[in-house]
Amino acid sequence: MQPDDIGKELYKIMDALVALKVDLSCDPHVPGETLVLSADKSRDACEALDSAFASIRNLAAAFNGGGVGGALGGASGH
């Protein structure tokens, strides 16, 4: 994985976290008793988590030698 690709994956994670932050209504002005997460919002939040997870997995594989367990050319599974 090239440095540019690593940067792109990191920005994907940041975008997912931004969306998650909005979905979770992290704004401190929202009253404490307010219920903020509809099923739709919950699904959007899960989509953001999945996206972040996929990017982290790609980065982890790249930094781990290209495959699960760190063995280049091994049974990487991705």
Binding site: K8, Y11, K12, M14, D15, A16, L17, V18, A19, K21, V22, D27, D44, E47, A48, S51
Partner: protein
């Protein structure tokens, strides 16, 4: 009496599907109209040269090209000079903010800290647009020329 109000027309230049979805749902909820979106700078420039959005939301890092390419082309060809151009990016450095403003952006928002602010701005502009033929550019509350400190 005919209704002379029209929904705010918004164009989004953003490569992240998740952020595009977030902006699209905010635009729809605010009663504004999403007239186009892309993560490709060249496509954005081509479409913006024939569209007339009231508001353009621009990310810096794109799939092809950058938000700077889009701003620069709009400035060079004097396109959308009346539209509000908002940069919404993870590249929130002072250098990028200065360059964005120099290239004609009205506002600069850091995705990680200003997401609520940019979504509120879209909603406010949409509300203003519904209340009049065009968003009021002279409003103190949402002065598009006012810089955002990030």
């Amino acid at each position: 009496m005919p209704d002379i109000s029209k929904p705010l027309q918004v164009y989004v230049v953003e490569d992240s599907p998740i952020i595009r979805r977030l902006l699209a749902s905010t635009i729809e909820a605010a009663g504004a109209k999403l007239i186009g979106q892309t993560g490709n700078a060249d496509k954005a420039i081509a479409e913006l040269s024939r569209m007339h959005p009231d508001l353009v939301v621009i990310d810096i890092g794109l799939r092809i090209g950058s938000g700077f390419d889009v701003l620069e082309a709009l400035q060079q060809h004097q396109l959308l000079s009346a539209a509000i151009k908002v940069v919404f990016t993870n590249h929130a450095s002072a250098e990028f903010e200065a360059l964005s403003l120099k290239l004609g952006a009205n506002r600069f928002f850091d995705k990680s800290s200003d997401s609520s602010e940019v979504l509120a701005l879209i909603s406010a502009l949409a509300a203003e647009s519904r209340g009049s033929a065009m968003p009021s550019r002279g409003s103190n509350r949402h002065d598009p020329t006012k810089r955002t400190v990030t």
